[in-house]
Amino acid sequence: MSVTITVNGADHALDVDPSTPLLYVLRDDLELNGAKYGCGLGQCGACTVQIDGKPAFSCLTPVGAVAGRRIRTVEGLGSAGAPGLLQQAFEKEQAAQCGYCIAGMIMRAQALLDRNPDPDDAQIRAHMQTNLCRCGTHMRILRAVRRAVALRKGTQSAQEVRP
């Protein structure tokens, strides 16, 4: 069966069982590495992507359900050569240990910043609550999101963000 999905602005027509979770389509058909398999149960957020601007678990999203909707993955935010704002902030803060959770963290944070460009620390923590990190990189992830907020506002030099 053929399904057409729009990922990071590009359309892809795929011959795939519509029940296939989006995660496997992104990884195996479109060869995008950002979304990760962590649990397949909607419990960890490693697979987080944006669907029509909202953060969603790609591991539990049948690809047939997102035909024609806007899907954004971490690859859509920037590349190693031209990183997006959050990616720059994570790089600056060296906010990764194993990094397996990080693409999902960035996508969840991006959804917050899209909706609220100036969240406070409590709002960031509450929003990020869904996603798990086992390496204990939380403090740096929070710093990175705060840094992205500051970078965007441009009112503070990036240096001043470190608490």
């Binding site: 190693a80 990183p83 990764a96 390496c135 204990g136 403090m139």
Partner: protein, 756 residues
Amino acid sequence: MNPVPSMLSRRSFLTGGALVVSFALAPKAFAQLAGGGEGGAGPTVVAPDLKGSLKSTPWLDAWIRIDADGRVTVFTGKVELGQGIRTALIQVAAEELDIPPAVVTLVTADTERTPDEGLTAGSHSMQDSGTAIQNAAANVRMLLAAEAARDWGVPAEQVTTGGDGRLRAPDGRTLSYGDVAARLSLHVQAVPDAPLRRPSDYRTLGRELPRVDIPAKLTGGAAYLHDMRLPGMLHARVVRGPSVGTSLKSPDLDTVARMPGVVKIVRQGGFLAVVAERQWSAIQAMRHLQRAAYERAPQPPLPADGAGDAVATTLKALPARDIAIMDTSEPAGPAVCTVKARYTRPWISHGSIGPSCAIAQYLDGTMTVWTHSQGTFDVRRVVVELLGLPPEKVHAIHAEGAGCYGQNGADDVAADAAVIAKAVPGRPIRLQWMREQEFGWEPLGPGMMTELEAALGADNRIVSWTHAVWSNPHNNRPVGAGGVLAGNEADPPFPVPEGKPIPMPEGDGSRNSNPLYNFANTHVVYHFLKDMPARVSALRSLGAHLNVFSIESMLDELATAAGIDPLAIRLDHMRDERAREVMQAAADRFGWAKRPRGDGRRGCGMAFARYKNLGAYCAVAMEVEVDRETGRTLVRRAVAAVDCGQPANPDGVRNQIEGALVQSLSWTSREAVRFVADRRASFDWSSYPILRFDDVPGSVEVVVMDRPGAPFLGTAEAGQGPTAAALANAIADATGVRLRDMPLSPDRLKAAIGPV
């Protein structure tokens, strides 16, 4: 001269003006305990005078290659686990060769390309590989300088380097490393005394070089084994019961054989897997097979579920072998205050965010396995025995996985993949475990208990100290087929090898049971329990988590009983100057002297340990706030100080300690694997919750001690024990309630506090 390497055929030679990897294999050895002091097999020591892993692999060309264009390749037998070792080792090599780090390429464990350095574990990587690369690089720089000096006709001491990959003569002439290297063979043994660069001249070491692996991880680059896509690759899923010890009764193979996309069902003895063109087909087939009822083979009962008493009951019922760890006696005054306490820790899951994964391909009689195991060379040993292949026909290559913190499913999944690949020759097989398989089948961190009794004399000095620890082995790393699930499921099965303790000074359940403090009359005994009610193996910090928790809790219990400041009682019993400085540094940065005193809700605690008494020193202080209605504890702020010798990359050290601290908070405050009669009942993140963003500390600060040029001391596991104890101590300070059984959960704290 040592014996000629047995695998000469694999050596390549000086060609095309470059020093090509002249791979020098150490003599094969399977018996030696190496690998970061956490079991595993490892190489034999052939050059005891050399430092780090040069002891077992003394040839320089095994470590460093310099191309004609000046590009440098460095080989390590250690692997990146998210600890940043890749960057740290590049910094070490760049510093000692005196070249820009950007020209260094690092190759991590690969059975055909790199030295065997045993496991990447036990916080040994900087000590083993960092030290080896540092000394190898110093040797290479020395040889390059000597060769250039010969060319220029000047004394070697007058040849200098400027950090740009060129050698300089006193008269200003220069030669590039590449040109000089082209005339040299590095297939020579290192000498022990090649001069190291002076810390005051460091250009790269000790700098906060951004980690080389991070950009790809932030942008969806190919960063993990999980991201590898080989031509013709098939997807497999292994099919098992809900947890270790169970097996499926008559799975419905017929239906699955007819499912679209299913390429093959692999069934050998008790091993069952499905192979499909697409991941989703493999998962659906696996689920269909897992509908079958399961049974649990007769075996010892699983650990009892529940509080500290349950852990203690389970462990005390097992036959113990008593191992004396420490016995000192010296005259001391009479005891005026004695405290006796039992501390426990339940079984804990590694819980990597990414379930274990491997790719295997059996092509033309050679098995290649890509693995994120901590023991790449052990993976080869396992596959060799499991599949009966000659060692030279098995090639294991490390590729990065999610963080693993010990022996998770990585070794098992690699063996699983190899079994499947052998049955489907030609095509690469990618196998990832499901979340519930990782929870259900990986070896756990063992449940443990300690009993301590300590006494203070009239002068506030500790006059006696007894520490008994009960634990299963933490050392069940697979070195043969019996150590992995696929081996146990083979027909006939390879039996699970009997667990053995790791001797001190590293220890396993005994790790850090010997206090670094100077106590009079210290008696420490390890009740080693070889019979394992649950599958267990190494989890980050091994026994140090509970032993340090116990020692450092007991110190506070004594301090409270006698009205002594917790920092003072520690300093009073510590002669090691670096330990004192670390404690003081943490206390100063924390503002210990002016800390808010326990008021029923807020309180502060601190703790200290030197990991294994021979690794990094780490002190942790934290302030907590307890919600007395719910027992919920929030860490307002935490400060850690760490002395790991010369830090290769201080930010990398901070990252490791921050991570250790947060992870230990999660272990200590909320984690416990649950069991029911016939299985593990923790199978997902809802049945095994870990720390989330709303429970992480308000702030974490890490002070890295500056120790220019001091030998590297492993850091990654130094924070676990001190964090656990600092939390218990802070809770006790805040509430007056002492929790001794992990997890220090809200329910337990609330129960201990009572209604007010």
